[in-house]
Every structure is written in C-alpha cells, then in structure tokens.
Symmetry: C2
C-alpha cells in the first residue's frame, strides 16, 4: 500500500531530491519513469498531468505536485516528523538560501536540456560541455564552502545535526558532479556533509544507481 506515486527519472537531480525526502519521511511510494533522453517527459499523457513537461511530479493526497522544492516543503508541512526544516524563521531562511544556491543557481544551468542546447546551438563538444558544467559548479561551490565552513549553524549536516532540505539539495549535486570530474578537494566541508548523508539509508536508497530505471 503506497502513499504516493513519483514520476521521475533515475538521473534527474530534482527527482533524486524528492526520493530522499520521501525516504526520510518514511513514506511508501511507487515510481514511474520518464526517460528524459528519449523525451518521454513531453508525451501527451504526461503533459496532461504536468504541463511543464519536467520531472519530478508527485501524486499524493489526491493531487499532483510539481517542482522538487515545493513538493518537499509540502511533505514537511503535511508530515512534520521527522522535520526537514528548522523550527525558527531565521533557520528556515538559511536552509532555503543554501538550498536555492544549489537548486536555483547551479542545477538549472547544468541540467540535461541546457547541456543539449549548448551542443545544438553553439556546437559545444563533450569537453566544452564539461567545462561549462564545472564552471557553474565552481562559481557556487566556492562560496557555499565558505558559508558552510564558517557559519555557526552548520553541524554534522548543512543545518544542525539532522538532515534537511539543504542536504537533500546538496547530495544530488555532488553525485552529478562525478559525471563531469569536478575536483572536490577545495570543498572539504561540502564533502564531509555529503559523506555523512550517504551513511543514511534514506540517501543511499535514493541514489540514481539504485533506481529500477538506472542504466
């Protein structure tokens, strides 16, 4: 008996985030897959559910939710334990800021549809695409490392000693980085938090390689 149906793709960072959140909340969910390289996210049956033609989309509580951060905040508001957001407004602002640095600064510029567009529009080859990817990671990871290394609220995880929204955004980005040989040496705090997350089943079980549609 499952609580939700996730429309995803093993390699989508945004779907990965939602899988982690569902796992942390202990929710049972089914998955259906939209192969992004085959354009299945633009199939008419899926566009009826989600006109944006993106993954993830989550069917839950008789409705369909889209945009990973909106989905995760909904899960946290409707299923408060364990909490994925701090109890105080300042803490929530910090966690949302860290999360958006990853989900709204790096990921949109480096996702599949943009990388494919660079190839067709500007003739970028594999090496040029990889340089672009690494550039936008580095532009944000350097100051993100500064923040996480210097701010008092950083704990075992991005905010305190329990995993939350910022960690949920961090791990998929670091995993994605491995496909483009991003050097993690300059980011010891990010690497430490990433490692702490991957010791938890909720993160491990959400890894792209552990999904049924993994190639």
């Amino acid at each position: 008996m499952s609580d939700a149906l996730l429309h995803g793709y093993f390699r989508s960072s945004a779907a990965f985030r939602v899988r982690i959140a569902l796992n942390l909340k202990g929710l049972a969910y089914d998955q259906t897959f939209r192969h992004l390289r085959k354009g299945e996210q633009r199939a008419p049956d899926y566009l009826k559910l989600n006109p944006m033609g993106l993954v993830p989309a989550l069917e839950i509580d008789g409705q369909i939710l889209t945009q990973s951060l909106a989905i995760i905040e909904y899960l946290d508001e409707t299923r408060p334990n364990p909490a994925l957001m701090p109890k105080d407004a300042a803490g929530r602002a910090r966690v949302r800021s860290l999360s958006l640095s990853l989900a709204a600064e790096i990921h949109p510029i480096n996702n599949l549809r943009v990388l494919e567009d660079l190839r067709s529009r500007f003739g970028a080859d594999d090496a040029a695409v990889a340089r672009w990817f690494r550039h936008w990671v580095e532009v944000t990871f350097a100051p993100l490392e500064t923040r996480l290394a210097s701010e008092a609220h950083t704990g075992k995880f991005c905010h305190g000693d329990t995993p939350g929204l910022a960690d949920i955004c961090l791990v998929p980005q670091v995993i994605n980085n491995t496909r483009f040989d991003v050097d993690m040496t300059p980011y010891p705090t990010i690497a430490r938090i990433h490692k702490a997350c991957l010791e938890l089943d909720a993160f491990k079980n959400a890894l792209p390689a552990n999904q049924p549609d993994a190639e």
Copy 2:
C-alpha cells in the same frame, strides 16, 4: 526610520522581487546598490556580508538574508499581514511551484552572468544572446500560460484575488522580457495578471526604472 537595508541593483530580477515584497508588506527600507556590470557584487566588503557575491541581500532583524525566495518567505513568516502565501499547504505548494518555474527555470539561465558567459565562451553576439533568452522564456511561458489559464485557483492574480509570491516572480520576468522583444501574444493570462499587478503601487514603485540607480 527604516526596517531593513536592501543590497540590490535596479535591473536584477531577484532584487526586484524583494522590493515588491517589502512594498506589499508596507516595510520601510533603505537601498544600497551593487552595480552588477561593474562587478561591485564581488567587492571584498560585500563578499564579507554575502559570500555568494549575488544580489539581493537583505539586512533585517539583526541578520543578513540571501536568495530572494528565502527572503520573501521569511518576510511572510515574520510579518504575516498581508499574506503573500496561501493559508493551506496545497495552495502553498501550487504557489511555490509557479514561483520556482520562473525563479528556478527561466531566470538562472537568462541572468546577466550567464549571458555574458555565452559571449565570452561561445562568441555569441547580441542576436544569439537574444535568441537564447527568448528560447528559455518560451519553453516555460507556454506551459505556465496553460497552467494559469486552466487551473481553478487562478484568480485576478496567479493564486486567488490577492497578490503573492508567484506574482512577485512573474512581473520581473515579464519586465525583463521587454529588453529582448519577447512576443507576449501567446500568453494572454500571464499578460492579464502582469497588468493587474502593475496597477498596484507596491509593484509600480519597485520597477527598475523607478530605482535611484536606474540608468
């Protein structure tokens, strides 16, 4: 006597969002400007305040907040009236999803630093930059129009009959579009909501052209 100090730039869509939110909340604020084309957001004194080197940053309640959506949610949590978010979790999920479609799908790909990078990295000229800009607007505006035109919760504004977070994200994008000749004809619902917003002083007074640093 002001409640807050906003570090911004007249043309930054993200700073524009925060100006609208501060205005809707009726908060008095001072502004200081970081000229993005001159790289002032990377000056050492600013990086001390905001290591990410981006605008906006808002000094309020004895702390500094970054990332426009995180700032606006903080304002709404700490100054609940008038509300910028719906009272119900499903409504908040919808508003956050619409907002992220604008703030995390279009804007990060089309902001100044990415457009400049296309010039230096791929030799894109003005026409190529404009084509890129319009492409990423159209990819999201078409399904966003479908959502806003078809979903029951759309009202005078994106969600119901009072302005909120999604409208705050919508108007700066539509204003930004005018610089790149985006044809708005295919988006009558977006255009209608945009017009309704600009009848309000909170939006009008936040327009780039009405800022002290406007060129």
